[in-house]
Subunit: 406 residues, 2 copies
């Protein structure tokens, strides 16, 4: 007997037929004698519709009321799934964030879970009842509904699994696991049986939209065994685990990409202490996040060029902020380019293997792909290249690192 | 300065443009210096959609989960209206049933309000905040969401008005008040400026769908001044008040009709004590309500005919139950007719005026309309006639009782 948390995303509960499919999976897990808690998202499209209504209602909406409106989608799914489970002979009841309670801080729209009291769940499990929990939502210390940010149901699931001391947290989605690369681009991409938390974290934050980044952080911190698998197929997915659970660790586990960034270069910047702070201060003041940053060595006259990336949506605002501050920043020219892609190779194995970055640079050079910006961490190397090379770069790297399926 | 409860039905909040219209009305009331609580229904069509989803999910759904699903519509409207009000510069916040709390009994799907704690509202009113309350919903002693039955937002409004000691409870709807008769049928129908609680109660229960019956009962019991008015026009509606507030009371205030009943006749029933209980027992056991009942005098051989009406939807079930019990009920024949209409004249004035029923019978006879069943109460006379006479009967009676507009 085990204790399992199952989480189903929006496409897995998109209509009643799919909710019945979900109920059958839950029933099977329950009939194995397991304690089962199910976390559900809103039916596909519902949350987007609610967000549109809020946006149409007012340009700037009170986030406390935004949360009241957008949390309703998960409430509906939870009720419907409980009804369908009961109809299949499985005792089940729905739980809303405030009923558990799933206590969060007061950061409406992107609240963080602080505490989950699971005593009642323990009692219900003993009485062989399935808990159907509305994901994405919690309750603040003020007694108001909060939401956890887009993709927040993943975090609800991992947090509940941690609080329940669950043996596994199964994240059911519309893909059957985590791949070495996006299979829509790299046909030879392989599904990974296992991946480490660290790698999954990099993948999530680098644009692979399988899990919400925060849910992976929490799984790592709380040591929750997460499995990503398909709600439409009957086969094992990808387990997200500790490094020591993976016997043969590849040097590179996966290759991610993000078309979501844009490049900005300030030419002829003063090369003296404090200049970076002067440049990035106004951006931060405008809530514009900067990702990759490179500063060239000073060329002549103590001037340098500074290149960095921002999210594409922020590009025009960032350019405006920099132009307004040209005098103070004393740069000579400002250029920008939204047609770039960030390609990253990820693997905890590279900690103990030299030459991973070199292999990447050589492979790209061989294909005539110019690297514009480089940034590295302990377990990843990211480069910025022209967007038109996306497919070529991904496929070349996938082959070079020996990831291609047979 | 007054304290006003305003309630807006589904058609009044059907889309964001209409929600803005509602917000403008709320703002106007608020800017007169009044304390304002607003009760909102779900946007038109939303609750029906949610009910369909539940029905599709399972033939017999757990009513606790039904309530979780169908209460979500009001939650969305409350959040959106609070956002729009804030956008117009009016401080407002949404309140869900469990947040107030609007305490009800545990009769899910048709719960009754037991207690409303309004202390927090008093504080918020003093701070000049508008309370936007999700109608139709409450919370049970088990901490589960309850709903008050279709049209329940009317009851939410009246109950809140009573708890808040409000000066008025304005029910905004898509008609501009209560009419002497359905204006779609009787062109000369007039809007009433005032109507008594008792009359409104009869009208509501006899098929005029302006207010939920239970909300009128509560208004009468708790002495809440209710006004029915249009959310689309700027003119006074109909005040529902105590009898002594109406100076010149007409004998008949209005004429209602219901096409929702069907007639059943048992021919040749034993005319002896206990037979009625024997007949209506099996119907009650099958949750079939019987409305009008007449039993003819015994004709010969101590046998009689018994006629009664049931809701049209229950007709086939009722017939089946009676046929299954034919032996025990020992009737000779069973006939039924769904093509009937119940026409009722209503007025507290008839308490002190004889001949009201006679006027009705004569008027119908003059038009050649045969009366099939009669039932009366202190302030109403109802007759069952063939459905094809609906319009003729209503128009004749409207004229006979002097209700026609000039």
């Amino acid at each position: 007997m085990a204790r399992i948390v199952m989480k189903f995303g929006g496409t897995s509960v998109a209509d009643l037929e799919r909710i019945r499919n979900v109920a059958r999976r839950v029933k099977a897990e329950f009939e194995r004698g397991n304690d089962v808690a199910v976390i559900v998202s809103a039916m596909a499209g519902v949350t987007n519709g609610l967000v549109s209504q809020v946006t149409e209602a007012a340009q700037i909406a009170d986030l406390r009321e935004y949360d009241v409106v957008v949390s309703s989608g998960e409430q509906v799914t939870a009720g419907l799934l409980a009804i369908v489970l009961q109809d299949m002979g499985v005792d089940a009841r729905s739980w809303l964030g405030w009923q558990i309670p799933m206590e969060t801080d007061d950061s409406h729209g992107s609240a963080r879970i602080q505490n989950i009291d699971c005593e009642e769940f323990d009692r219900r499990f003993s009485a062989r009842q399935v808990a159907v929990v509305a994901g994405f939502q919690g309750i603040s210390s003020q007694g108001r509904i909060t939401t956890l940010g887009r993709g927040g149901s993943d975090t609800s699931a991992v947090a509940l699994a941690a609080a329940l001391n669950a043996d596994r947290c199964d994240i059911y989605t519309d893909v059957d696991g985590v791949y070495t690369c996006d299979p829509r681009i790299v046909a030879k991409a392989r599904k990974l049986d296992k991946i480490t938390y660290e790698e999954m974290l990099e993948l999530a934050s680098l644009g692979a939209k399988v899990l919400q980044t925060r849910s992976v952080e929490m799984a790592m911190k709380r040591q929750v065994r997460v499995q990503v698998l398909s709600s439409f197929e009957d086969k094992p997915g990808t387990l997200v685990v500790d490094e020591d659970e993976i016997v043969e660790q590849a040097v590179v586990s996966g290759i991610a990409y993000s078309r979501d960034e844009a490049k900005i270069t300030l030419l002829g910047v003063d090369d003296k202490p404090g200049v970076a702070a002067k440049i990035f201060g106004p951006l931060a003041d405008n809530a514009i996040n900067v990702d990759m940053i490179v500063q060239n060595v000073s060329t002549h006259e103590a001037r340098t060029d500074l290149t960095f990336t921002v999210v594409k949506n922020d590009l025009s605002r960032a350019v405006k902020v920099l132009q307004q501050n040209q005098e103070e920043l004393s740069y000579v020219d400002l250029i920008w380019d939204p047609e770039v892609v960030k390609v990253s190779v990820i693997g905890v194995g590279m900690r103990s293997h030299a030459g991973v970055a070199l292999t990447m640079f050589r492979a790209l050079a061989e294909k005539g792909i110019n690297i514009q910006v480089i940034s590295t961490s302990e377990i990843k190397v990211s480069v910025l290249v022209a967007e038109e090379y996306t497919e070529l770069a991904l496929r070349s790297l996938h082959t070079v690192y020996g990831l291609d399926s047979a």
